[in-house]
Amino acid sequence: MFEQIKIACRHLIEVPDDVAPARYASLRRIMTVLMVVVSVMPLLVLTGINHVQYQHTLQGELEVPLRGMVGKTRTSLSLFLTERASTVSLIAQAYSFDDLSDPKTLTRIFRALKSEFQGFVDLGLVDETGRQVGYVGPYNLRGAEYGDQPWLHHAQVKGAFISDVFLGLRGTPHIVIAVSHMEENGRTWVVRATIDTAQLDRLVAAMGLSPDADAFLVNTQGIMQTSSRLYGGVLHKLPLPVPPVSYDTSVTLLHDAQGQELVAAYAYIQNTDFIVMALKPHSALFQPWTTLQSDLLLLLACSVALIVFVSHVLMKQLVNRLQASDERRVAAFAQMEHNQKLSSIGRLAAGVAHEVNNPLAIINEKAGLALDFLHMTGDFPKKDRLTALLQGIESSVDRARNITHRLLGFARRMEANRQELHLEEVLTETLGFLEREAQNRGVTISTSVAENLPALISDRGQLQQVFLNIIGNALAAVDNGGTVQVRCAAGQAGFVHVEIEDNGKGMPPEVLRHIFEPFFTTKQEKGNGLGMFITYGIIKRLGGEIHVASEDGKGTTIRILLPLVPPEGQENPALPNSASVQEKP
């Protein structure tokens, strides 16, 4: 990772040797990924922390009402049962067996009980054998045998007992509160009161839960002690596991048979077998949290998408700009190299020409002298042949001289011959030389000169040579019936613009690259490869620029910029790119 970052940074600052698009594509990828990672990472961490924090807080917040209601109900229930157990216990303490055996007394006590406390259904006295010897209540249970009932046994062992809800002998659900009392003589008996389960229902219903919630009383065996809306009536088996023992209000997660997650708040009621439970589906309880969560997620997704998009666009812009500037830089280097090369070649060529000229002059004179002698001598065998040979030498020297003179012309300094001239005139004169050829081949040469074209100071002869070279090349490049267009216009400040465009055969890039080099020709026998070389030299000396654009098969455009007033000195330092070649797009 760090290596990649280092490489990416190095990529940014170094001047590249090549400007391959793949390099920039990979650079863009690396930088985009880097930027996205750097921006998204903190966002993700922050969102994660927020998520956990919110969840924690909200969960607590959302559980609070449920927890509170269960706690309250537990207290009410506990109070309700304790009160009634105490009352029964008081009766057992305050009265003797004989008092309670008297139906009148029992009835009086029962009446008082009913008037003071709600929920009592009946009151009975059970002797140690388990037979109910006294009874007041709606059922005729005097003489009923409870010997085999578990509540009796529990009461006799523990002293007081509050039973689960059960049907018992009467066949309706009820709770038994039994208190046993031992007299001094060792006789034990039990006061037994039953409580209507409707009282429990009332207390549970007082929670006032929302419609999707449920609350009920269940015993430790999972038998429903009050009716519930969702899990059946009294004495049904609760289809959920019984939560672990806790006398404080606790919250736990349960799963019902359908796999639905339920939040259960519950509390065990002390000294009884009862558990108060309130259930609410998890999804319903945490609805606000789910909403908040999806809002958070949406926000996160939008932010990430925005970051990715912006990074992508930004990096694309940046890298494109970088690529463009690198390309310009590389092109400028290539241009400088090209100009340097041409100038070196020019100097070398001129030097060689100079050195060759002297021996050439000697050859010329010797051959001439030999010819002179031949002319003075009378006939001898093969005189004509010898004359022809010497003339051959002279004409070859002529050819060589042409070349060396043109090469020297490339580097020739010229200060004389500068005059004010109008390009239009120079062009007309030049085209005069080429008109015949153009007419013969049906080539149209059209000239358009801007009206406001200023006069410029330059060398008429040199300019003629330039135009002759370029338009001559254009003529050679077009097919019969082709067109050559010459356009002149005022260019940027202080310059005149000449454009020569043909629709001829154009040049492939490899030819274009060498166009200004001496002895580079595509005309085989007809050309010496010096035309464009000389042209380049002249334009450079006149302080101008020349640019060639060409595409193989599509034609060539040569653009010349000429200063209105040529600079002093040989070269114009203000124009480092005095020549360029480019493939036409």
């Binding site: 000697i362 010329n364 002298l369």
Partner: protein
Amino acid sequence: MASAILLADDEKDFVDTLGERLELRGYAVRVVYDGISALAAAQEALPDIAIVDWLMPGKSGDAVLHELHARQPHLPVILLTGHGARDDHGCTPCAEAFACLTKPVALDTLLEQIQLALGGVQV
């Protein structure tokens, strides 16, 4: 009487041959191989025309030209150069010279210039 030509060039082979060719065409040619000898020769016998190489050891073509003109202001001088109408110091030699020709020179061209020079100056 034949016109006298002073011919100065350090390329011995070249100048000898050229001198011989000019002699064949009826001129009285004096051949020398450097600038100092050229001036000495001009002192001995006034030439009608001087043909001087631009670059010579001892004294260069334009120095010779100046000194010749100092003595013989109307002497036509034809300069020969190996490298076009320019030099490495930036002066243009053709101004004072009657003509400036680049080597190798076609003899016909040279003869033409000699004719012109002699025709224009009465000796």
